[in-house]
Symmetry: C2
Subunit: 226 residues, 2 copies
Amino acid sequence: MKCFVLRVFVASAVSTSIGIIGGTGDQGRGLAYRFATAGLEVLIGSRSAERASEVAREFALPNLRGSDNVSVAKECAIAIIAVPWAGHEATLKGLEPFLRGKIVIDCVNPLGFDEKGAYPLKVAEGSACEQAQALLPESTVVGAFHNVSSVVLLNPEVAEIAIDVLVLGDERTATDQVQTLAELLPGVRGIYGGRLRNAGQIEAFTANLISINRRYKAHSSLRITL
Amino acid sequence: MKCFVLRVFVASAVSTSIGIIGGTGDQGRGLAYRFATAGLEVLIGSRSAERASEVAREFALPNLRGSDNVSVAKECAIAIIAVPWAGHEATLKGLEPFLRGKIVIDCVNPLGFDEKGAYPLKVAEGSACEQAQALLPESTVVGAFHNVSSVVLLNPEVAEIAIDVLVLGDERTATDQVQTLAELLPGVRGIYGGRLRNAGQIEAFTANLISINRRYKAHSSLRITL
């Protein structure tokens, strides 16, 4: 039964599309590459349609295209927000009308950097995810893909990404769908990680992974032991 | 060489002692049981010496004793703070003179609970660890054991605890020592997880583990993929 639900979802996802807002950065490109390789139709969005198309063309995949953020937000079935934190609020305000009724996956990590490394920035709403939900009241915001290394995503020699993707949200049907989406990435397990009010520490956890990467010369992520 | 350093540390730790402040709660008892089983001398501390002795006696281990928090803080070589968050500030203020010059391991998670589950509480200093370091300026505070299930620690049928303990701190010699200490627990790997300023999200992450435990009926923890 679970398998059947998965198949229906995949079939429907293939016939629609994943739009990656701010998809020309490392995280966006990495997710675009992996979802397109998994067979989904993927749209990379950018403020500049030209830049987005250029980035999409580099992958040379027939189901991966680029366009401006507004067109991508309009066309996609599910949006992934992958903009830098500095552009998070303004980007979402501008796209609000086009994201209504859709699942919006936020993977943005509000981090600062100084000579001692990375650290979490304070967010008035508690987290990027909660800010997104406040700005997009008619969308269903789900947090996911915060702790995935873009270096690993973009490395075609990594066939299996043996990590868990924590999926956060307040609506079960949406988090279930995003867990299934995450598991289209080979090796990945999608794990429900709590409500949106518990997204802040998952975003901030990326600062710890950056510290771990420095110490152990790694591209770390996490697994949950159940 | 690494093995030699480990042995010297273990020998020295055995000849001294681990003091668990607030050690009669589940987390404190779990750590006490595991460190005592690993051969260390362990002192369980409580506001009531009688209660601490009672809890210690239940384990019936010759190297595990109980006493009042002040006596334990005075006598121990390394302290572990395992009090409830509500008593964190007052307890540390009272013990400050006795913890000078020592490594103080803080494993306290400032969490609130309501009908929707657990969520992180705001901490003025950023985290329990940073509050501890502010209150104990002459001690070296290290964060560790935040995400370890007390149910697992206290289950004698669990021989190997196959998790990573994230160790946070600003002094390398201290975090190295606590990583070695963590690895005395069979199956555990001690991983450096960043500076104290990145401890808040590791404490808060326990709220996510509680959500995961509810959803998956598990006693979850984490592994870092390197």
